[in-house]
Amino acid sequence: MLRTLWYSDRLRSLVAQVALLGGLVGLLFWLGNNTASNLAERGIRTGLDFLSRPARFPISESVIRYDPSDSFLWAFAVGIGNTLWLSFLTIVLATLGGLLLALARLSGHPLLTRLGRSYVTLFRNIPLIVQLLFFYGIATSVFPAPRDALNPVPGVFLSLRGVYAPALEIAPGGGLFLVLCGLSLVGVALALRSRHLRGRHMPRALRLVLGVAGWAGFCVALWAAMERPIGLDLPELTGLNFRGGTYLSPEFAAVLIGLVLYTSAFTGEIIRGGIEAIARGQWEAGRALGLSERHIMFRIILPQALRVIVPPMTSQYLSTVKNTTLAVAVGYPELGLIVNTVTNQTGQALESILIMLAVFLTISLSVSALMNLYNARIALVER
């Protein structure tokens, strides 16, 4: 009796699973079938051969070099490059911002704690896209036209076109110069630490100053000897716009500022939560041992807090990567905007959007995998 019941239970679950699987496969088949017949019936071009055709449309800025004569495939790569670059900068800056915010909220200083809390409440409760549009509105309305650009520091220009600043110009010998200069710095540092020099009765500060001065002198002499391998490329107003220098567009600035301010509010709370999760007793134990506050914070609390912080931080980083897609609203050419444009130029929406989804899935899954690996490494080893 019991046996048959057990068997029937197993049978039931088997039937349920087969039905579920069958239904799912059927659904996918139905969707695929619909898509195929729709595409055929409406004469929509399909296939990936468009990827090798020249894209012909312009992209306003990119970290990867792009020219309209490049292929659609390259245009996608340029979009991915921009997405990753924006994500990377946001994550680094928002982690630092979050750390500052967490320290402010944990400082115990009544005014600063409240300021920190107000910041978090304010930025967490307003949609990111509203913030991006707001900052973009400011970036394109407060500053003057290029001809009347603000010039706070020589070589730096602030205008509606964004920020132009001097750039490093590296001539053919530049690499060699940097390497030699770096090596000499290492040499000086080693010399300063060596017993031989330390033995002399010379104040530490004086030794340091002499070392640095010697190194700087060497580098300047080398720079002159190598006929100025590295110079500054200053932006200059020619015709309608600035030429030369490095350039930060208002779109990129607005997106970056908006993303960093928004994300910091979240990373700050994660870091604070992690630090607070470490028992107060640890602080007291540390103090009892006569350790300084800084020592307790950086040597005892933070390493332990990291274990608590890493998992939620991972998902926050992933959200940040996904949030970069909102840049489309202010015209920064990340992957989403490129997909928009490609869809338009080729009419192949299906392929373009699927490429975008695949890219984000790949990023999400690989970041999760990496973070899991890191998690396993730093996890508490129980003995």
Binding site: L24, P110, L112, L115, I126, L128, K322
Partner: protein
């Protein structure tokens, strides 16, 4: 050295007057003095913004000519209030859109009252939503027909948030149960669905809904853009809610389910009467958090051209008659979202405090 300093601040003060206490807190050590200066600097830096937004601002309703000062132009919001709140909805029918807003707020307030929780509140919402959709669409009871392409503004934002959460919730429950199911196929399917959706940006899902979905369906099924957008938001909400509910399910002891099984209570009854009520009660704070996230996420529909409150504000800001009003428009929208989201946040904290008080 640092150690000595903190010891000094930790010593009880000899004179307990307010002033000396204040001095100790704000200037007791080099560090706290520095932090005080930092805070004051931050506050001083915010003064120009405050002057612009409040003191120098033009609050009076009137024509654009009023706004030529250095301050914010709130007259603009006054003039464009209808457009921002109701979008392209026909002016003579805007009382219907307004009623919808009132109804949603009333229903949310009713939901705050724990005694109504259960089937009654679900029924109330179902009836309420049906009434709202009929009000918005019209075409019956002598109300003029308003196609969804004319819906806009705050009702769209609120309806999308409420409907995506409401429709996503049952899907989320099924996915969460599936993810913890003993059946490997059900588990695999649930994990696949949840991780797939969570791995994608919402913008991507909205693109799929707006552009690709009609390709996936038979040619004689046309769902309008608003319906497709809602579908994307619903799936997105379901995946995130499912993970929250799973957290609640994980906290339950297996003994209860086994006990119910031993008593011969069928699986779905066990889930409905025993598992879910407890699991959901455990995760109310993260649930409200997801609600906040979804309210904020409705603003992304701007990217696929649905006329929500943000799109309405953006198009209102293009009126050349007003001098660069985009800052004011976005601040106004930000304020509305801020009020909604902080209210949900407060409520969540209040509930959490209640749960804590009961469990002690």
């Amino acid at each position: 050295m640092t150690n000595n300093r903190t010891n000094a601040t930790a010593q009880p003060s000899t004179s307990p007057s307010m002033v000396s206490r204040g001095v100790r807190i704000f200037f007791g050590s080099w560090l706290s003095a520095l932090l005080t200066l930092l805070s004051v600097a931050i506050i001083l830096a915010l003064i120009p913004a405050f002057r612009w937004a409040v003191l120098d601002a033009q609050w009076q309703a009137g024509p654009p000519e009023l706004c030529h000062g250095a301050g914010a132009c709130w007259s603009f919001i006054h003039a464009k209030l209808r457009l921002i709140l109701f979008g392209l909805y026909p002016p003579e029918a805007q009382w219907r859109a307004f009623t919808v807003i009132v109804l949603i707020i009333a229903l949310v307030l009713a939901t705050l009252w724990p005694r109504l929780w259960g089937l009654r509140i679900i029924g109330l919402w179902a009836v309420g939503l049906a009434v709202m959709l009929v009000l918005m669409q019209g075409g019956v009871f002598g109300m003029s027909y308003v196609p969804t392409s004319k819906w806009g503004g705050l009702p769209i934002t609120l309806l999308l948030a409420v409907l995506s959460l409401g429709l996503g919730f049952p899907i989320a429950v099924v996915l969460a149960l599936g993810r913890r199911s003993k059946l490997p196929v059900a588990r695999a399917v649930s994990i696949l669905m949840i991780e797939l959706v969570r791995g994608l940006p919402l913008v991507g899902l909205l693109f799929v809904a707006a552009i690709l979905l009609p390709l996936f369906l038979p040619p004689d099924w046309t769902i309008d853009k608003l319906g497709r957008t809602l579908a994307a938001l619903t799936i997105f909400a379901a995946a995130y809610l499912a993970e929250v509910i799973r957290g609640g399910l994980q906290g339950l002891s297996g003994g209860q389910v086994e006990a119910a099984q031993a008593l011969g209570i069928p699986y779905w009854k066990t889930v409905w009467h025993i598992v879910l009520p407890q699991a959901i009660q455990k995760v109310i704070p993260p649930l409200t958090n997801t609600a906040i996230v979804m309210v904020k996420n409705t603003s992304l529909v701007l990217i696929v051209g649905v006329f929500d409150i943000l799109s309405a504000a953006r198009s209102a800001a293009t009126d050349p008659a007003w001098p660069a009003p985009s800052t004011e428009a976005y601040l106004f929208v930000a304020a509305i979202y801020f009020i909604i989201c902080t209210a949900i946040g407060w409520y969540s904290q209040h509930l959490e405090a209640g749960v804590k008080a009961r469990s002690h």
